[in-house]
Each structure stands twice: as structure tokens, then as C-alpha cells.
């Protein structure tokens, strides 16, 4: 197991002492630590600052026809909405998708890296990598960076020789196989709708509608989720984007404004 030795170096390193190349044995990356009074607390605080609160809603579920993957598109920095049009569903390769929750850069980079590894596997072994294998590769990478402040909560969804596959992988190095997952600050709301409406034998349209509704409801209640609800479908021939609807428009589609009678209609007062 690759040990994380960043916390074991001397508390007050001399500035300018370069010991990166000397040790053959400690290959773990390290950074110079500043002189500070609260050494332990400082580390925790730094990790907390770096680790954004995974403000997002993503979900994926397996059903009879394949895998449905959906996500919102809002990026927030605290209370500030930095973007309403972030692509949170990452195309690893034509038959595998990854979802983004947590640090955008971390997710994008490591998914891209995973795509590279999957392609190399294909070239070397003359067969596609399984969803199991791909998710395991990612989980192993994230595990080796455990405690270094990566923030990744992703779902790997794909279709391989054994059929549809769905795995949840996070920055702790955890990896779970499952039929339904939702990740992010809006996930409780999405789970409510998803778990209520889920049936294994749905058609593609029904499943897409369920996914869309779940994302919509999460964006309605969760401030950190919003923008556009994208829905992707992964089938035997690879993934296909089904829809990308603005959640504001979805709101009025699901809850159209009913003209209601008012007690006293205001009449325009004509000029004197």
C-alpha cells in the first residue's frame, strides 16, 4: 500500500532544502509545509477548504433496457452561482459515461485519464475493458491519492459484455456496485422521486422521464443545483444524449400556471 508520508516529514523544514529526488524509497509526492502554530488543525482546515461541498445533483440507475444517467449543470462557489452550463456527464468513451460531483477539475482530469487507460487496455488486449475494470482502475487511483484533497464523487455507467454496469466511486477510494445511485447536495431530493417511481421494466422514455423529474425536483429544492437537466441513455450500442431541458421550463411544464379567478379584477382607469 502506498503510504501517505506527507504528514511525517519534520514540522519545520528548512526553506530551500530540496529532498524530492534523494529518497528512492519514499515515492509519495510531498509539499513543503509552512511554519504554523496549529499544525494538525491547519492540515484539516486546508483539506476542508479545498474540498468543495459537492454542490450538484447527479443520478444514474440500471433498468431493463440499459442505464439512465442524468445530471444538473450548475456550478456554485459558496453562494455565488459561477455557471449554469457545466457539463457534468463526461464521455469516457463511446460506451461509458462518468458523472461529475465534487471538484470539477478533479473529475474532468481523472475521467479523461481513465479514458486514456481504457483505450490503452483496448489496444493491448484487443477487447473493450469492462465497466468493472474501468471503475476499479479509477478507484485504485483515487485510493492512492487518499487524504491529499481530491474531491471526486462519480458514477461510472456503461454497457459491456455482461450487460449494463453501474458503479459509484469516490475520493476516499470507495467503490460500490449498485442499481440506483444519486450523488451530490441535491441527492436526497432526487432519491425521493427516483426511489418512488422506479421499476425495473420501464421503457427508455419512461426511464428518461423519471430521471428528468428527479433532477428537476432536486434543483427545485437544492440551491446548489440548477441550470439544465441533461439525460443520457447507455444501451448496447453505446450512450446517447436524450435531452437537455432548462429546469425553469420544466417547472412550468410540470406545474403550468392555472389562471385563477380573482375577487376583484383590477380595471384599467382610462384617462380622466
Amino acid at each position: 500500500m502506498k503510504l501517505d508520508t506527507t504528514g511525517m516529514e519534520s514540522a519545520a523544514p528548512v526553506w530551500g532544502s530540496h529532498n524530492e529526488l534523494v529518497d528512492e524509497f519514499s515515492a509519495a509526492p510531498s509539499f513543503e509545509l509552512p511554519n504554523t502554530t496549529d499544525f494538525d488543525g491547519f492540515q484539516k482546515e486546508a483539506i476542508q477548504m479545498v474540498k468543495p461541498a459537492k454542490g450538484t445533483t447527479t443520478l444514474a440507475f440500471i433498468f431493463k433496457e440499459g442505464v439512465m444517467v442524468a445530471a444538473d449543470s450548475r456550478a456554485s462557489m459558496g453562494g455565488y452561482i459561477s455557471s449554469q452550463s457545466v457539463k457534468k456527464i463526461i464521455e469516457i468513451n463511446p460506451y461509458m459515461l462518468g458523472t461529475m460531483a465534487g471538484g470539477a477539475a478533479d473529475c474532468q482530469f481523472w475521467h479523461r485519464n481513465l479514458g486514456t487507460k481504457c483505450r490503452l487496455h483496448e489496444l493491448a488486449n484487443k477487447r473493450r475493458i469492462s465497466v468493472t475494470g474501468a471503475s476499479k482502475l479509477l478507484a485504485n487511483i483515487l485510493y492512492s491519492y487518499r487524504g491529499m484533497g481530491l474531491s471526486v464523487g462519480t458514477m461510472i455507467a456503461g454497457w459491456d459484455e455482461t450487460g449494463p454496469g453501474l458503479y459509484y466511486v469516490d475520493n476516499e477510494g470507495g467503490r460500490l456496485k449498485g442499481m440506483r445511485f444519486s450523488v451530490g447536495s441535491g441527492s436526497p431530493y432526487a432519491y425521493g422521486v427516483l426511489d418512488n417511481g422506479y421499476r425495473y421494466d420501464m421503457s427508455v422514455e419512461e426511464a428518461a422521464e423519471l430521471a428528468r423529474r428527479a433532477i428537476y425536483h432536486a434543483t427545485f429544492r437544492d440551491g446548489a443545483s440548477g441550470g439544465v437537466a441533461s439525460v443520457y441513455y447507455v444501451g448496447p450500442n453505446g450512450w446517447k444524449k436524450l435531452s437537455g431541458d432548462d429546469v425553469g421550463e420544466l417547472h412550468y411544464r410540470y406545474y403550468p400556471v392555472m389562471p385563477s379567478t380573482v375577487e376583484q379584477e383590477m380595471v384599467e382607469v382610462t384617462g380622466a
Partner: protein, 249 residues
């Protein structure tokens, strides 16, 4: 440290790697080994030098498992073989751990061949003095395969092949007599090929059979004797048939 930079395998003026060729010589002096691929079965056979009476024959098994679905036989330096086999076994498990999938025969052959090649291009080491025959079934498609590697690090797939002592005669025999077989027929073909160069008898050859369902199974001496007897009988019948028609004229 500087001593280890001395490469042992270097090119000769006319483009040969003599250490590799000498390693092939070592292989040519090793025990004969033959492998045959059938439609649903793969067979490995190895020549067995008569075991000394006090030796426990169970400790000198020449056909080994790399994983549940892959087996290996080799010709050449047995000590080198042990090292290579251990590395291959670890790689099989490591692959299972990192991708949650058993290795394919091609993958592990590529790994072993890569290892053999590395030792022809490193400082302070000599090449492995053995050629291997690797058989197995693809974990998903169930297709049987037979591969061979050699000290230079090349590998290729075969329908049937032999290595070690007198491998050329065995290969000639296989080329003449090979056809797509399955089950017992494949076993008989492998034993017939081996008996071309080895004295007949169950105690002089070791045969192992691998099927998708049952994995690797070593044949008992009695079984091998029985099949050898069948082969003898068939040979005699063929001889007799050849002699018979002229008489009738």
C-alpha cells in the same frame, strides 16, 4: 553499481544476439514438450526422465497451473522456469485484483514473453533458458488457446506445437497428422506425437488435460499406458492393412 551496467546480451557484428541463441540451445537440450489444441480441450505432454527410485515423483510435476483456467509446460532450465512461473502466477492474481477479471491466455503469454525479453536487454542478467507452452481457455468466450514463448521474448499462437528435444521431428509429425479434434482424440494425438521421440510407456511421459468445466487434470500413469496401448494397436492394424492388399493380388 557500475558493474551492473555491463550488458551481457549484446549484438554481434552480423546482427545476432548470441546469448539468446545459446539460450535456445539450452532449450533444445531440454525435455520434449508438446501441446495440442482441440475444439473443447487442450492437452500438454512432457517427456519425463525416469525418476530415481528414492525421489518423490509428486514434487517434480512438469505441467503446472498458472490460474484455474491456464496451464504451462516448458522445456529448458527448470530453475529458470520456477522463477518465471512464480512471476506469472502473481501477475494472474494481480490482474484479478486490479480489473476484477481473470487473465486471458494471450495476456499472460504477453506478460511472460515481455519478461523474457526484458532479460535480453538488461544489464548484468542472462536470458531465461526456457521456452514455454501455455494453454488455457478465454474466461468469457470459452475459446481454447495454445501459445508458445521462447528465450528471445517472441510469442505466437499455435494449433499444435512442440519444443525441447527433437521438437522438429514432433512438429513434422504434427504437421502431417493434425486435424481439428476434440476430447479423447486430441489426447491421443498429443500422446502419439510425443511417442515419436520418447520410449513408449506411461512412466516416460507426463500428460495433462484442460477443459473449460474441469480445469487442469493430470492423467494417471495407467491411463497413459492404456492410450499408448491403443495407439500401438492402431499402428499395427494400419501396418497390417498396408500389407494386406498386395497379398490379395
Amino acid at each position: 553499481m557500475a558493474r551492473y551496467d555491463r550488458a551481457i546480451t549484446v549484438f554481434s557484428p552480423d546482427g545476432h544476439l548470441f546469448q539468446v541463441e545459446y539460450a535456445l540451445e539450452a532449450v533444445r537440450k531440454g525435455n520434449a514438450a508438446v501441446g495440442v489444441r482441440g475444439t473443447d480441450i487442450v492437452v500438454l505432454g512432457v517427456e519425463k526422465k525416469s525418476t530415481a527410485r528414492l525421489q518423490d515423483s509428486r514434487s517434480v510435476k512438469k505441467i503446472v497451473n498458472l490460474d484455474n483456467h491456464i496451464a504451462l509446460a516448458c522445456a529448458g532450465l527448470k530453475a529458470d522456469a520456477r522463477v518465471l512461473i512464480n512471476r506469472a502466477r502473481i501477475e494472474c492474481q494481480s490482474h484479478r485484483l486490479t480489473v476484477e477479471d481473470p487473465v486471458t491466455v494471450e495476456y499472460i503469454t504477453r506478460y511472460i514473453a515481455g519478461l523474457q525479453q526484458k532479460y535480453t536487454q538488461s544489464g548484468g542478467v542472462r536470458p531465461f533458458g526456457l521456452s514455454t507452452l501455455i494453454v488455457g481457455f478465454d474466461p468469457y468466450s470459452g475459446v481454447p488457446s495454445l501459445y508458445q514463448t521462447d528465450p528471445s521474448g517472441t510469442f505466437s499462437a499455435w494449433k499444435a506445437n512442440a519444443t525441447g528435444r527433437n521438437s522438429n521431428s514432433i512438429r513434422e509429425f504434427l504437421e502431417k497428422n493434425y486435424k481439428e479434434t476434440s476430447g479423447q482424440e486430441t489426447i491421443k494425438l498429443a500422446i502419439r506425437a510425443l511417442l515419436e521421440v520418447v520410449e513408449s510407456g506411461g512412466k516416460n511421459i507426463e500428460v495433462a488435460v484442460m477443459t473449460k468445466e474441469h480445469g487442469l487434470r493430470q492423467l494417471e500413469e495407467a491411463e497413459i499406458d492404456a492410450i499408448a496401448a491403443e495407439i500401438e494397436a492402431e499402428k499395427e492394424a494400419a501396418e497390417a492393412a498396408k500389407k494386406a492388399p498386395p497379398k490379395e493380388k
